[in-house]
């Protein structure tokens, strides 16, 4: 099948981290989940589809990294003590960290599709997808692009109020 011959062919499970509400800890939880799974011996990747406010690079202390291309697409940034977590974020594509990504929906959708199909993830047990708040372009596009693959499900994060 097409799915088998793609960059996500070696990914066993995909997990979306969602909220609706901003600032409840989606990125924090995504990061901690990845680190915990890694600690348990799993191969983990994080796809950060928050294009306006990408927090994951800083949380994993790789905010100054850059991404490279290979034959199958982008090579993710490898983080962690033993470089065991693979990460892709728009944060790595910005010229300056304070540059605002002021894009309307269609441009955001195009990049998210690319992040899903054009990153050479390799073999992963878990791909965690961190999302921005809301139920809009990024969420619709991420789910649409990921649907042909092993979409495990969503973890929803909230605070008590």
């Amino acid at each position: 099948t097409l799915a088998e011959r793609t960059n996500l062919a070696g990914v066993r499970h995909i997990l979306l981290v969602l909220s609706g509400k901003g600032g409840v800890g989606k990125s924090t939880i995504s990061t901690e989940l990845a680190l915990a799974l890694c600690n348990a011996g799993k191969r983990v990747g994080i796809l950060d589809v928050d294009l306006c406010g990408p927090s994951i690079p800083r949380m994993l202390r790789v905010q100054d990294s850059a991404v490279h291309q290979c034959d199958s697409g982008w090579v993710p940034v490898f983080v962690g003590q033993d470089k065991a977590i693979a990460l892709m974020s728009i944060g790595f594509l910005l010229e300056r960290p304070d540059d605002a990504v002021v894009w309307r929906g269609p441009k955001k959708n195009a990049l998210i599709k690319q992040f899903v199909t054009d990153v050479a993830w390799g073999d992963l047990d878990f791909l965690i997808v961190d999302t921005p708040p809301g139920t809009s372009d990024e969420h619709i596009s991420a789910v649409e692009a990921l649907r042909p693959y092993h979409l495990l499900g969503a973890v929803l994060v909230t605070t008590p109020q």
């Binding site: 306006c52 540059d99 990504v101 002021v102 809301g134 372009d137």
Partner: protein, 278 residues
């Protein structure tokens, strides 16, 4: 023609303030609601609160207006009034159930925002406050574009002290500069917590890189004030009550009052300068 239509509708709006962040969950809606209540405390002022967070509209609940619906009349949509001089509009009022998800792509969101500006009969307004969702995307581009038909006094940018928030807020400041939106200043929310029992102050969100103060210095923007974390604020929001009315003497309220005053002064001065030019 579109711009002319918007200009006509917004002609009677004296001051417009956008409340932005970049980061989610820092207190934009909370601050917008408080600003609206604070300005409307002067009964001679007419205040309008427009919530353009289409996916996560918090304003109806915070203003105690859940379950209200929008009525149409010959002159357009009627805002929902909290007080005689405080009208509110939000997508929240258009949903059949509060849990209905609005799963719209950019263009549809833009369409509704335009309708909010074109079809709502705000009447004569002294202050139009626009609450926004986090980010720098469709909603933000559209509101700046549509409001160019009138004028925007400026943006109030809300943050919390930690670097993960400031990181997004710096982008928002750059967005404002890119679209030539004046920045009235920055509000640092959740800035310290004073225990009601032992009175010790804790930093729940430690400003590891100097907080909003350092960021404002570096980027040459005004720090309007710092507001401490007060559980009463969240409670008031959940209950749809005005924190201003519930806890008028609390440290948080004293900070808010000073910030609101600075915003008013900025707007009045801006208006005066515009009149001079005209």
């Amino acid at each position: 023609a579109e711009v002319a239509e918007l200009r006509a509708r917004l002609r009677a709006v004296r001051h417009t303030v956008l409340v932005l962040s970049g980061k989610g969950g820092v207190g934009k809606s909370t601050f917008s609601a408080l600003l609206a209540h604070g300005l409307a405390a002067d009964e001679t002022k007419q205040v309008a609160l427009l919530d353009i967070d289409i996916c996560g509209p918090s304003i109806p609940k915070m203003m105690g207006l859940e379950g209200e619906q929008v009525h149409q009349s010959g002159s357009g949509w009627s805002p929902v009034y909290v007080e005689e001089n405080l009208g509110v509009m939000s997508v929240g009022f258009l949903l059949s159930s509060p849990d209905d998800a609005v799963i719209w792509r950019g263009p549809k969101k833009n369409g509704l925002i335009k309708q909010f500006l074109r079809d709502v009969d705000w009447g004569e307004v002294d202050y139009l406050i626009v609450d926004t969702p986090p980010g720098t995307s469709d909603e933000h581009l559209s509101i700046v574009q549509y409001l160019s038909a009138t004028h925007i006094d400026g943006a109030v940018i809300v943050t919390t002290p930690q670097e993960v928030s400031l990181q997004d807020v710096r982008k928002e400041i750059n967005f404002c500069r890119k679209v030539k939106l004046p920045i009235i200043g920055v509000v640092e929310n959740m800035s310290g917590f004073v225990c009601p029992k032992c009175k010790n102050e804790s930093q729940i969100f430690p400003p590891t890189t100097g907080g909003a103060e350092k960021m404002c210095q570096n980027l040459n923007v005004s720090l309007l004030g710092k507001v401490p974390l007060d559980p009463q604020i969240g409670k008031s929001c959940d209950r749809g009550q005005s924190f201003l009315a519930e806890a008028p003497e609390s440290p948080a309220m004293l900070s808010y009052r000073s910030i609101i005053q600075r915003i008013q002064e900025y707007c009045e001065q801006h208006h005066f300068q515009e009149e001079k030019i005209m």
